[in-house]
Amino acid sequence: MARTLAEALIASRTEDHVEPGAICRVRVDFAFANDITGAPAIAEFARMGAETVFDPARCAIVPDHFTPNKDIASARQVQAAREFARKQGMLFWEVGRAGVEHAFLPEKGLILPGEVILGADSHTCTGGALGAFATGVGSTDLAAAWALGETWFRVPETIRVVAEGKTSPWVTGKDLVLSLIGRIGVEGARYAALQFEGQAIEALPMDDRFTVANMAVDAGAKVGLFIPDARTLGYANKRAARPFEPVFPDPGAKYAQTVRMYASRLEPVVALPHLPSNVKPAGECAHIDLDQVFIGSCTNGRLRDLELAAAVLKGRKVHERVRLVVIPATAEVFAEALKRGFIETFLEAGAAISTATCGPCLGGHYGILAPGERCLSTSNRNFVGRMGHTGSEVLLCGPLVAAASAVAGRVADPREFLGLDEVPKGGEEE
């Protein structure tokens, strides 16, 4: 039977019969938690009577959510994670050398094409950009994977998203994925696998692909998969921490549904409160004033995102009423952004910059909102109270809209500031 990419990936790691709806026992290549989900996973691991993880080089904890430790309780959670990781000999990185897990782990070559990845964090689906069956689970499932090196999956149906044509230079991966969610809704792909294809998808730089795959879960999907190509392999070969074998879909595979998008019609967009599917063209929201803008997170804290934001902010100032918080998603991204002058641009524009952390994305720290405040954020969720008080509001967007809006003090289309040739081209150096 011809297989979709999701089916082919599961089949490569199971002895069971693979077809949509079947439940399979699947080998796991890599399993990780963060500082919040690590603590319950460690407790459940003990309750399972497990003593050692299946392979310490394939198990990790990334302390990224409440780090640098924001209070004593968070410090204790990280302490427990650190002690467990040391005892098990598994991977753990200290703050300052790590980053937001879904940006950091691919960068370290720990998530690779053809693999099955389990993470105790819903945005684990980011790894789908590399053609890995990467999906989020809870702490108990993760503990089971640490103990056994395997998990169970119900084989998902696959929805193919075909983006034909060419996007305009102001349209980023974030605009593409928000437009998709705006169309199919936050549960449009519930329990399903998304498989991205088409000219506009192939043209996306790696960093934008991570952005698109990242938000698969915010359409309800289990995974958001890209078919490995030269760009994927270029990225993975340079970084791989272990050998890997990419997996591809078969021609003639059956898809539950095909969603077609016409890339040339896409525009820079924002998602209004309080659902990621509440999508509007940025240009139609110029009446919305802002108190804060956040550029960062596992969705848009990568080098390409900072490059785009810097292109807008170069020689401009953040609006006097607005706080701009910029958080490069990993230490490597920070160092490279420094080298290329982006950090200097942000400082001169009047931004607050922090070491890599999830920070304000989940209302942790580094930019919590007061009642009545409104933040435009490059992260992935705008639920009630997500970044602070329940009386605050979050709007979502890509890095160009974020930077343009920080300057304008209100939602702004990047075309207000950047001409056709002023948007940096992406993807050449991969």
Partner: protein, 172 residues
């Protein structure tokens, strides 16, 4: 685990997300007793003061969407909610609930036929939901056999424990 529940219904809408079930500001603990007082705090302030142990949550589609935090079903269970009936569940919440032993039922018809405050009786093994105030009976979507076994064994922890013991025996 008992599989019959009797409680008052608390009805909410679609897309009840994990951020309102248990906000991130309380995630520096994973102790159900510490999480429970904040259960649904950002959706329905005062829920915890007004609810009684055994009460039943009823919600629309995509219940538990958002983050993977197991703290969400833990907070609901810790609060004393006996079970959650929804038109549909987000996939990670679905797994988490079964794994930690929070009873859940998928039943769009029941969601349409239940109002807040009505008394509901649930027979988990049969997937039967009875609205005691209207006399209406609903049947939940049955789980596949694999998941029924998982639930019957008491969740994922005992299941993995048994697997590990078997492995150790075989290694000897």
């Amino acid at each position: 685990m008992t599989d019959r529940f009797l409680g008052k219904a608390w009805v909410y809408g679609d897309n009840v997300d994990t951020d309102v079930i248990i906000p991130a500001r309380y995630l520096s603990t994973s102790d159900p007793a510490e999480l429970a007082p904040h259960c649904l705090e950002d959706l329905d302030p005062g829920f915890m003061e007004r609810m009684a142990p055994g009460d039943i949550l009823v919600a629309g589609s995509n219940f538990g969407c958002g983050s993977s935090r197991e703290h969400a079903p833990l907070a609901i269970k810790g609060a004393g909610v006996s079970c959650v009936i929804a038109a549909s569940f987000a996939r990670i919440f679905f797994r988490n609930a079964l794994n930690i032993g929070l009873p859940i039922l998928e039943c769009p018809e029941a969601v349409k036929g239940i109002r807040s405050g009505q008394r509901i009786e649930v027979n988990l093994a049969e997937g039967r939901i009875l609205n005691l105030d209207t006399g209406e009976v609903f049947s939940a979507t049955p789980f596949p056999p694999f998941l029924r076994e998982l639930v019957a064994r008491g969740g994922l922890v005992p299941t993995v424990k048994a697997r590990l013991e078997e492995k150790r025996r075989n290694a000897r």
